[in-house]
């Protein structure tokens, strides 16, 4: 019942918010309380999780649409647990920070955020393809409203672009899901339950897998986003309010990477082989392109947004080199990117709220006035560029290790992709350090010389992220231990099409 509780808590939290809608202060307190409760329950789930098992745990399964064989089926393994806890933490931090900066239509904002949280936690727990799709789409409308109502000057254009891109991809995935359903067995025995589908994946012909994988991959590639489907991302990030950016980069992009690992890889191993060269190539292009474009950005938020494109390139690269180091790196990169980039967007937001400036050229010398701010920001900057000892290093290092070991039967192998992808790490150091230097160092500008450093609420938002950045950098082993068994299982399924038994 704990997993269903995670779905229900935000849903039920909407009611008291509606009742208290006359008082913005009360709404804020309730929203923070609800997301804190959600975080607590997700930690409880983590505490009850048995480390070392590969299969799904705490599975809840009830028929939902019997005529379509669709079930309300939730469950978690090591991979989803990691992302689940990250989600509830980032949501809590976003809501906490928003209590300070969101002043108009507070009730609507908090309701949108709770609806968003339902979709996000659901995506990482759903074990039925249909249910997954529902949660995947459920994230869409709240984020559309969050960007469109509380966003910047070009919010309407950006939010429509975001929705249309995502929707175009996901609707094709819906067609593919229905096709999978029809191919899953004879009439009356059809299913969309992941575990049953994996067990019966021998029914999916090679041709079928190639096309259906493409439809899934398109949806996930747009969500992630992979080059060249990334164009919605900078627009959406620049216009989104800070909390929206944190969630968008921290959680929603991960739904794409998670979708690859959870559904596309185990279900369509032949499809994976067919499209693997394309995806690897696009990933590496994304790493370099994101980094090069980030270098020339004038706007801090846009710079961080493009750095996300590069970081997500590492995620898909790690997944599709199809070895243990690469995939472990990809999962850790998703987790770490959520924490670090969530932190970066938070700090760009904090800075903007104080100075009302986001253009790098208009800033400078913040370090002289804001020691706390600068320290935290430095931690995130160095983690983002992959400094050993901070969490960003772990994921990227493992992905590169995996890339070097990549040995496909034909085509370019790891000795090509490894060094090229490693260039991305160097470029990341260039754009991140350059930004840090221009924003933090140098003389203080008159215009904001008197502005205060981090407030207690801002500290409360920042501390968990900073702590995690350091801890996961120094001591990632516990998280690796949680992820490893599930990851090995997924990898075995993805690389050997003859395996038909799934771990329940």
């Amino acid at each position: 019942m704990l997993l269903t509780a995670l779905v229900l808590i935000p849903a039920l939290g909407i009611l008291p918010i509606l009742l208290a809608s006359r008082s913005a202060a009360a709404v804020r307190v309730i929203a923070v309380a609800v997301t804190l409760l959600e975080l607590a329950v997700s930690l409880l789930v983590a505490a009850r999780f048995t480390v070392g098992e590969a299969g799904f745990q705490m599975v809840e399964s009830v028929p939902w649409l019997p005529s379509l064989g669709v079930r309300y089926e939730l469950g978690i393994d090591g991979i989803s647990l990691t992302l689940l806890v990250m989600t509830t933490l980032l949501t809590f931090i976003s809501v906490l920070y928003s209590t300070k900066v969101i002043t108009t239509r507070v009730t609507e904002f908090m309701i949108a955020f709770l609806l968003l949280e339902i979709g996000m936690v659901g995506v990482f727990m759903a074990l039925d393809l249909f249910l997954f799709y529902v949660f995947f789409e459920l994230m869409l409308i709240p984020m559309y409203l969050i960007i469109g109502i509380w966003g910047g000057p070009r919010r309407v254009y950006s939010t429509l672009k975001f929705v249309l891109f995502t929707l175009a991809g996901s609707l094709l995935m819906l067609v593919a899901i229905v096709a999978v359903y029809l191919a899953s067995g004879p009439e009356g025995g059809r299913t969309l339950s992941l575990v049953d589908l994996i067990a019966g994946r021998g029914r999916f012909s090679a041709d079928f897998q190639v096309w259906v994988f493409l439809a899934f991959a398109l949806a996930f590639a747009i969500k992630l986003p992979m080059f060249p489907f990334h164009t919605w991302l900078p627009d959406a990030h620049v216009e989104a309010p800070t909390a929206g950016s944190i969630i968008l980069a921290g959680v929603m992009l991960k739904a794409g990477g998670y979708g690859f690992i959870r559904f596309a890889l185990p279900l369509f191993p032949i499809g994976v082989q067919a499209w693997l060269p394309v995806i690897i190539t696009l990933s590496v292009i994304g790493i370099l392109y994101g980094a090069v474009v980030a270098m020339v950005q004038k706007d801090m938020k846009k710079l961080v947004a493009y750095s996300s494109v590069a970081h997500m390139g590492f995620v898909t690269l790690g997944i599709f080199v199809l070895n243990e180091q690469g995939m472990m790196g990809a999962v850790l990169q998703m987790l770490n990117h959520g924490i670090v980039t969530g932190g970066l967007f938070l700090f760009v937001g904090i800075q903007y709220e104080k100075t009302h400036r986001r253009l790098i050229a208009e800033l400078g010398g913040l370090a002289n006035r804001w020691p706390l701010y600068t320290t935290c920001f430095a931690v995130f900057t160095f983690a983002s560029l992959g400094l050993p000892g901070l969490n960003g290093f772990v994921g990227e290092f493992l992905v590169l290790l995996g890339a070097f070991r990549f040995a496909p039967p034909t085509g370019l192998g790891g000795s090509f992709w490894g060094p090229v992808a490693a260039l991305g790490v160097i470029l990341a150091a260039v754009y991140m350090l350059w930004m840090f230097q221009r924003v933090m160092l140098g003389p203080v500008r008159e215009a904001y010389a008197k502005l205060p450093d981090l407030s207690p609420i801002e500290m409360a938002c920042a501390v968990p992220l900073v702590v995690l950045t350091v801890v996961l950098g120094v001591f990632p082993q516990p998280v690796i231990a949680v992820i490893e068994p599930s990851l090995k299982h997924v990898l075995a399924l993805a690389t050997d099409p003859s395996i038909q038994v799934a771990v329940r």
Partner: protein, 484 residues
């Protein structure tokens, strides 16, 4: 004989109610009539719903002229429900515009009666009678604002093209009669099974009937009347017109094409699939360019015709196809009548109806209406957790099962395009400030309550659609158990 009459009790109630309303109004003062007449109509519709079974074994009445089965029961509920919503949201508008009361509600009821008759038919004559009884009152509804030239244009266009399509349809029926020598569905099916499409007359009949019903359902390229008719008609009438006649046309299409013309399915299903793609693409493409919200909804309803037609084309998937059509019609009925009715909170007297700009900032001026409108639009887009999403899935499933992968992809791409113009309205309502000179916001608790209940239904059916779908499956079953 009395058993026969009992079998059509819901229809008898609706007919009696319509006549009674016309007479009751004569004895009432105008102000009182504005309250009592719709109240009576609503009570009568609920009574008619209660008078019929929810599912029933196939029963032939009046010597085989009529048939009552679960298909009939399903559509009775759909038509009565849509009429009820239309009745409940109309009164304030009629009062503002000074439209005649009894005639308006009587026309809605007569049209509903015609629609119900279609689903009772097991014979070409009954079916045609039902179609005409359904259509003619709607022409009157479109032209009810006698002094408004757009309303006149709407009625005239709708009537001329409607009459034209009826004539084509009837002509097609006569060809069928000529081939089979009977008007009974089962006998026609047997005769056509012998004749096959290779025979010229069958081809002519098939083409004429397709075109005739295509007009009624607004299939491209027979759709030209739709935007003008929906746009010019009084808004609550547009709400009714955009759903009930379309559902009735598809009920007729399913009765005929899944019945007597089923032996030809291999021939018409591909043609339907092509028409479906043309219809949804053209509807969406033109809807993108609309600034007037009523016209946009009109073109969007054409796109939805395309989706429903796609499910009809998937005849090869058996009951799943018919159930998909039925479920989509019920879902579309709720969300589209709701979308049109949401516009009723704006008093657009003397204009052609709300433009996008006039909806700007509606979330601040009338939060409830903006919210329910947004729910209906999200559902029309097909995003979970709304019934519109589930309906799309139940269309995609038979379409893919019947082997029309390209059609399923076309539906998905079209739905993405449609998202643009639906969400643009949400943008206006939630992300823009109210404009100077925007139309007055009017409210009435019955309208608001009806909208809220309809929106709640759209969401609840999106989360727990099982019961409705099982009902649709049960309603589709008799179509496939009749001897052909």
């Amino acid at each position: 004989m009395s058993g026969d009459l009992l079998g059509i009790l819901p229809e008898i109630i609706v007919a009696a109610l319509a006549i009674a309303l016309l007479m009751v109004e004569l004895g009432l003062k105008r102000e009182r009539a504005r309250v009592i007449v719709p109240a009576l109509a609503a009570i009568g519709l609920v009574a008619a719903f209660a008078a019929g079974p929810l599912t029933t074994a196939r029963t032939e009445l009046f010597g085989g002229l009529l048939v009552v089965d679960s298909f009939t029961s399903f559509f009775r509920a759909v038509f009565l429900g849509l009429a009820l919503i239309a009745v409940l949201v109309s009164p304030p508008y009629l009062e503002r515009r000074g439209l005649p009361v009894a005639e308006y509600y009587a026309m809605i009821l007569f049209s509903t009666l015609g629609a119900m008759t279609i689903t009772l038919s097991s014979d070409l004559i009954t079916l045609f009678l039902g179609l005409e009884l359904m259509s003619i009152p709607v022409y009157v509804l479109a032209g009810m604002q006698r002094r408004d030239r757009f309303s006149n244009e709407a009625a005239m266009k709708y009537f001329l093209l409607g009459a034209f399509s009826s004539a084509l349809l009837l002509y097609g029926f006569t060809w069928l009669f000529g081939i089979a020598g009977t008007t009974d569905f089962a006998a026609i099916a047997a005769a056509i099974g012998r004749a096959g499409l290779t025979s010229g007359p069958v081809l002519v009949a098939l083409a004429l009937i397709t075109v005739g019903l295509g007009f009624k359902a607004a299939v491209v390229p027979f759709h030209q009347w739709t935007p003008d008719a929906y746009d010019g008609a009084p808004t609550p009438a547009s709400a009714f017109m955009s759903v009930a006649p379309k559902a009735a046309a598809f009920a007729a299409a399913v009765r005929i094409f899944f019945g007597p013309l089923a032996p030809l399915a291999a021939d018409w299903s591909t043609a339907f699939a092509l028409l479906a793609v043309i219809t949804m693409t053209a509807g969406n493409a033109v809807a993108l360019a609309q600034r007037n919200v009523k016209r946009m909804l009109a073109y969007s309803s054409i796109a939805h015709t395309g989706y429903i037609l796609a499910a009809t084309a998937a005849f090869g998937a058996d009951t799943a196809a018919a159930a998909g059509v039925l479920f989509y019609l019920a879902a579309y009925g709720l969300m589209n009548i709701g979308a049109f009715a949401s516009l009723l909170v704006l008093d657009t007297e003397g204009t052609r109806g709300a433009t996008l700009g006039e909806l700007a900032g509606l979330a601040k001026r009338h939060p409830l209406a903006a919210f329910v409108f947004a729910v209906f639009l999200v559902s029309l887009t097909g995003i979970p957790p709304t019934v519109g999403f589930i309906a799309k899935v139940f269309v995609l499933q038979p379409v893919l099962d019947a082997g029309f992968t390209w059609l399923a992809v076309a539906i998905a791409l079209n739905a993405a395009v449609a998202a643009f113009y639906y969400l643009r309205v949400v943008v206006q309502m939630y992300m823009s400030e109210p404009e100077e000179g925007a139309p007055r916001v009017v409210s009435g608790w019955i309208v608001e309550a009806s909208l809220a209940v309809t929106a709640a239904a759209v969401v609840v059916l999106g989360i727990v659609p099982s019961t409705l779908y099982s009902w649709a499956l049960a309603a589709a079953a008799p179509l496939f158990s009749v001897p052909r």
